[in-house]
Subunit: 267 residues, 2 copies
């Protein structure tokens, strides 16, 4: 069953998920779509996020994908139920569900922190899902709007990044959390400095769990690939150096990044 897996995000952050899927499922082909023309979704309305996501799913279905991964916390938090209702014939796996499952399993004191974009934090979806797992969990959250631009401008190991991280995480640490969910796909790129700041708090990278869930679903549906994998990368706009950006996230070289005018094709 050599149909590809569809993975999409508002931009390039979802490539941290692609990287983990390639690692855990090396025979699966992947079609990636990053909505670079309309990012960031973090500051947009629920209605816009739903509309943009459904356009992207229509495009991915035309690429004959067998399963879709929502590699964007903001999209997952705002509208994954709506998207599952709109597209009932394809499995849609969300990064938020994966992260909450993992955090619920590893926390010992039941005090869990979440960091993400403003839209993800305001949506409260992580808290709702975690409380569904255990209503006694104490959840503390914090939006970190500078983390994505810091990653995209390459400030991975700078004192300024350390100071900003300390400032963002201070209130969470005072709540004595023992587990912190990296609730945005860019944030694993800052895992080292975040770990320095939070000490022995356990960091949760949902990408790892997403790849595991994908493997299980494909096994259950008997949809696993046995052939060599191919990878296709699409974006809605090409800023300079897009190919290089993709390669930086993936840690390997790729053929090309193609452009799709997503807002014209799929109204």
């Amino acid at each position: 069953m050599n149909r590809p897996i569809g993975i999409f995000d508002s931009g390039v952050g979802g490539l941290t998920i692609v990287k983990e899927v390639i690692k855990q499922l090396p025979k699966e082909s992947i079609v990636y779509f990053g909505d670079t023309a309309r990012l960031p979704y973090g500051s947009k309305s629920k209605e816009d996020i739903t509309k943009f996501s459904s356009q992207i799913i229509k495009f991915l279905l035309e690429q004959n994908v067998k399963l879709i991964i929502v590699a964007c916390n903001t999209i997952n938090a705002n509208c994954i139920y709506e998207l599952r209702n709109m597209f009932p014939h394809v499995d849609i796996i969300g990064v938020v569900d994966a992260g909450t499952k993992m955090a619920s399993n590893v926390t010992i004191n039941g005090r869990i922190g979440i960091i993400g974009t403003q839209a993800t934090i305001i949506s409260n979806m992580y808290e709702q899902l975690l409380k569904k797992n255990n209503s006694n969990f104490k959840i503390y959250s914090k939006a970190c709007p500078l983390f994505v631009p810091l990653v995209e401008d390459g400030w991975i190991n700078h004192l300024a990044t350390h100071l900003i991280t300390e400032h963002y995480l201070d209130a969470l640490l005072q709540k004595n959390i023992d587990t912190l969910i990296l609730g945005c796909t860019h944030y694993p790129m800052l895992a080292e400095v975040i770990q320095e700041v939070v000490g022995d708090v356990m960091l949760i990278n949902p990408a790892i769990e997403v790849a595991k869930s994908t493997k299980t679903v494909l096994q259950n549906l008997n949809l696993e690939s046995q052939k060599n994998a191919t990878y296709s990368f699409y974006v809605s706009a090409q800023p300079s150096n897009m190919k290089k950006t993709v390669e930086t996230f993936l840690g390997c070289s790729i053929d090309k990044v193609s452009t799709v005018e997503i807002d014209k094709y799929y109204l």
Copy 2:
């Protein structure tokens, strides 16, 4: 002649221009449009920036504006000539022209620095315009992609902002510039920390010159208003606290911010 002035930007940064126009031209009504659904323009292609801008101008012309200010360096740098060709019946004033005029007048050693978004810097438009004024000018430029998110997340007076500013401006200072153009409408909000870092280098805030140019054009065309001014604010998407954000930029309270689905109306 009580028709309003139209001012537009990819987001809220252009409000620093609105503030200066209100200060210098208190009788002029203003219609502001911020393309919050599709920002940032800084990472988009020239084609997209031109298309989005022409949609906004169509909307502003329907509001019966008598003059248009492009309050966005990225738009000005990428397509102001195209926009003037597409809309020959309305005067279009650009923030880049204003900034270059002012810098050319104040520099003594002819070594001018420019900071802005990636798209503005890559476009090279500031350099071209400055060299047209004086081909002996030495121009040095630097993209500062973190400045807009720092302003929008309120990091105006933090050590991290100081460190980031030092890092961005170091190479320019080594070139012995005596004048630095704040080539992005958000940057005047960071003027204090930038001035600390650059010492006695003269900072150019193009908003001041844009308002002056607007006054001159209205006088020449006999289009000045004599009545009380009214202000209308439109955006393409309403993130949380938009009204408060506008009020922070302007330093005064406003009635409301209305939403226009710009991509549906004006294809």
